[in-house]
Structures are given as C-alpha cells and as structure tokens.
Amino acid sequence: MTKVASAAATRWHGVFVATIELDNRGLQPPEPMVRILAALKDLADGDELFAHMDREPMLLYPELERRGFTWDFAEGADGYSLTVRRASE
C-alpha cells in the first residue's frame, strides 16, 4: 500500500519507508546524476530513492560512494532502475 506523503511525516512515525521516485528516462548524461544527487539531500535514514533509468549510471557511483550511500541497480521488464539508501542503514 502506498500513499503520497511528506518526508518529515515519515521520519516522525519512524516505522515507514519514504520513497522518493524519479523518472530519469529520456535524459542525457549527466542530468540523471544531477537529479539524483539533488534529491538525495532530502533522503533521511531509512528512506530510499527509486529512479527509473535508461542506462546504468556509471558516472554516479563514485559520487554515491563518496557521499555515503549504497545502491542497487536492476533491470526489469519496465527498463532499468536504481535504488539508493544511506550507507548507515
């Protein structure tokens, strides 16, 4: 079950996982990276960022690592997707 809510409310309850969703399809490099790194500012511990991608963001990985995030890149029926979380999780 999902519903739209604010990240602040999510942190108050603490038992929920807030997901920031981005659609980065149709964007040329490095715009997907710019959007993801900008959105990560709002990512609290336990939250995750989910991005639809056209391709694997090789340019992004060193920055995620440097800034303390972990990621999963997957290929599904709907294309590629990237899920990012804080490394402390």
Binding site: M1, T2, K3, V4, A5, S6, A7, A9, T10, F16, V17, A18, T19, I20, E21, L22, D23, R25, G26, L27, Q28, P29, P30, E31, M33, V34, R35, I36, L37, A38, A39, L40, K41, D54, R55, E56, M58, L59, P62, E63, R67, G79
Partner: protein, 438 residues
C-alpha cells in the same frame, strides 16, 4: 556494442582541452591559404598550396581534434589507462609545431624542410599511437568503439609511414609519386584513420548523447570489417594506377561501410528517447548528407575523364575532398566537440558540487546557438568550396576560403566560450512523488 564507461579514469581537463582548442586554427590556416588561391589550384591536386591546405585541415583541424577525443575516450569510455599523461602533453607540443611547420614548408614547397617537418609529424604520430594504443590495449571492454580505435590507430601508422615515404621520395627520387599512390595515402589516412575511428566512436556517442535505448545498431562490427577489407583492397589496387573500369568498383566498395554506418546512425537517431535533437544529432545528420555527396563525387572522380570539367583534373577532386573531409568528417567532429568538451568541463569543475548547491548542467556550459552557427558556417564554407571547384570559379573558391576562416574562428569561439564561468540555468526537476510504503 557500446563500451562500459569508467569516468573516474578521465584524464585532466588540461591535457584534453589544448587539442580541441588548437584544432580549429588548422581550419583557419587552410581558409587563409584558400582565400589567396589562384586558378592554379584547379590544375592539379598535388600542387604546393593544395597539399598545404589539405594537411592543414586533415592534420591540423581534424586529426588534432580526434587525438584529444581519443585521449579522453580511451580511458573514460573504454576504461583503458593512458601510458603517460606527460607524454601526451609533450606529443601535443610536437604535433602542433610539426604540423604548422609542415603546412608552411609545403606551401613554400621546400622539400628538405618538408622532410624535417614530416619527421616531426611522424614522431608525434608514433608517440600518440603508443600512448593511446596502450590505453586501447588495456581496455577491458570488447566493444565496437574499442575495435574501431585499435583499427584507426593501425591505419594511422600506415598513413603516417606512407606520408613520410612520399616526402622522402620527393627529396631522394626513390620512385615517382603517381596519382594512384597519392590517392592510396589520402584514403588510408582519411577513411582508415579518421573515418573508422569516427564511425566506431559514434556507436558510443550517438546513443549516449541522444538517449537511445530502444534501438540497437545493426552494422557496428560489419562496418569495421567491411571498411578495413575494402580499404586494404582499394589502397593496394589504386596504388598501381588502374583505369576507370577498376577504379569505379573500388570506389563503390569503399562506400559500402560508411553507408551502412549512415543507416545505423539514422536508425539510432529515429529511435532516440530525447525529444529534440541538439548540436550532436544535427551535426551527424549534416555529416550524413555530406557523406552521400562525397560518395557521388568520389564515384565521379574514379571515372576520371568525363568528370574533369575544363580538363582541369583538380576541380572534381577538390569538390570530392571538400565534401569528404570538411563535410563528412568535419561536421561530425564539430558536433561531437560541442558535447565531449562540455561534458569534460562539467565532470572536472562541477561534479563534486552536484546536489550540494545549484550547478550548471552540460547544456549550460556550451552555447547551442554558437555551436549551430559554427556548424552552419563551416558547412556553408565547404559547400562554397565544392561548388566553386565544380564550376571553376576562382573568386568563389577564395570566398569559400574566407568562409572557412570564419567557420574555424566560430568553432574556436564556441569552444573557448565553454571555459567562461557558468551559472545553473534551472533547478533540477522535482521528484515524481514521495511515497510512504507501510
């Protein structure tokens, strides 16, 4: 088909940028020589001024750009490390000085000085091939761009060796340089080194810059195989100065792979996810138009006599060279230079600050308008040169030269503009949603 990029291995901006910034000066030099050309330029393709102009464009403008592109792409796209970054900087200095010296000495037709300058160019090519070759050999990916880079470097070695031999025989009269041998040298350099490298790298760049995900290229590997076999046959046979009955099929054979590549580029561009084409997509389409014209003019040049208007053998060949070198290769390189260099600037200057503050994106770093004007300017210049040669008009040829100077300066201004401080033109688009999953 495409390589897996390794951006952390990207060489410093200070290593790559000089190649891109110096290159348009080759076009400016060629334009100045052409703007002062006389009717003699229509008489024979191997006259001093024509030789100087050709090498200013090919070695000065296009090869210098391609060297910068390979120094960037071999580590960052093919994930192979350069042998030495310092060697690349030394090679740049040797290359610029030697090419400038060679163009001047060819214009003056001072054969001993041409020999010295040609040796300098050969040293530059050897250093480049060693450095970029090591990076290509170290590359982990087995991709079309990597295979094309390796093949291109091999053809560059042959073209450089032939060029140095031709200069040697000019001085020592080992054997005559016939039109067939000249044609073999020119095509090995233009089609083998520049054409194969451009076509191969575009299998990486066109999908990347135009966000092509739904369409796969069909002819990547066949293009490289057919091109290499066709060029080997062409160079070996045309060097024996055969008649038109042999030259025409050879010319058509040479055209097969570039046309297949053109089909792939059109398919990729039609299958893009990005709505609007930018300078890279536009330049590839312009390059394809020039490629088709070059194929037609090349077929005419192969037939010979019916296509020597006014009995001046250089006119048709000049038009063919303008379409192939300035049109096909030049247009594609202009477009890609306005994407490769901004990306590099962005990566080195702004990447560390992304997400922490508003930073420019790649489209903020270069001016689409300046890039389009540069592409249009060079295309207009090339068209003027080609038409003036076909109709035998010296004033039009000189006007084409003046336009080449303007086109080269526009290209240079567009590249220099990228290095000026830039501001973010817009904030990143907000997220689609924030959901809470119970």
């Amino acid at each position: 088909m495409t390589a897996r990029v390794a951006p952390t291995q990207s060489p410093p901006l200070g290593l790559i940028a000089p190649f891109f910034l110096a290159a348009p000066l080759g076009l400016v030099a060629a334009g100045l020589l052409l703007a002062n050309a006389g009717h003699l330029s229509f008489q024979a393709i191997n006259l001093p001024r024509n030789v100087a102009i050709t090498h200013a464009v090919v070695l000065g403008w296009i090869t210098t750009t391609m060297m910068g592109a390979l120094y960037q792409m071999a580590p960052a796209v093919l994930s192979g490390r350069l042998w030495s970054e310092r060697l690349a900087r030394v090679q740049f200095v040797i290359h610029v000085l030697s090419v400038s010296f060679f163009v001047w000495s060819a214009w003056q037709w001072d054969v001993p000085l041409m020999g010295i300058a040609g040796s300098g160019i050969f040293v530059s090519l050897v250093l480049f091939m060693a450095n970029a070759g090591v990076a290509v050999a170290r590359a982990r990916s087995r991709s079309v761009p990597r295979a094309a880079a390796a093949l291109g470097l091999a053809w560059l070695a042959i073209a450089g060796g032939l060029g140095l031999t031709w200069v040697g025989t000019l001085e020592h009269l080992w054997f005559p340089i016939t039109m067939g041998r000249l044609s073999a040298h020119a095509h090995v350099g233009l089609v083998g080194w520049l054409g194969i490298t451009l076509m191969g790298l575009s299998y990486q760049l066109v999908p990347m810059f135009n966000v092509v995900t739904r369409v796969r290229p069909r002819f990547g590997t066949p293009v490289l195989i057919i091109m290499s076999l066709a060029l080997t046959t062409f160079a070996a046979v045309v060097a024996t100065d055969p008649g038109p009955a042999v030259r025409l099929p050879l010319a058509l054979l040479l055209a097969v792979a570039p046309l297949l590549w053109g089909v792939d580029v059109v398919r990729l561009l039609l299958g893009r996810s990005k709505r609007r084409l930018d300078i890279q997509g536009h330049s590839m389409l312009v390059a394809l138009v020039w490629l088709v014209l070059a194929v037609l003019l090349g077929a005419g040049a192969a037939l010979g006599t019916p296509f020597t208007p006014g009995d001046e053998s250089a006119r048709w060949l000049l038009a063919y060279a303008a379409a192939g070198i300035g049109g096909w290769l030049g247009s594609a390189l202009i477009g890609n230079s306005f994407k490769i260099l901004p990306f590099l600037i962005w990566y080195h200057r702004y990447r560390p600050r992304v997400g922490l503050e508003a930073v420019p994106v790649v489209s903020d770093i270069y001016s689409e308008r300046l890039a389009t004007v540069a592409l249009a300017g060079v295309s207009l210049a090339v068209a003027t040169v080609a038409v003036s040669a076909l109709v035998g008009s010296v004033p039009a040829l000189q006007a084409g030269g003046a336009l080449l100077v303007v086109g080269g300066l526009l290209h240079l201004v567009g590249l220099v503009h990228m290095f000026l401080p830039k501001h973010a033109s817009r904030a990143p688009q907000p997220a689609l949603s924030k959901r809470i999953t119970v």
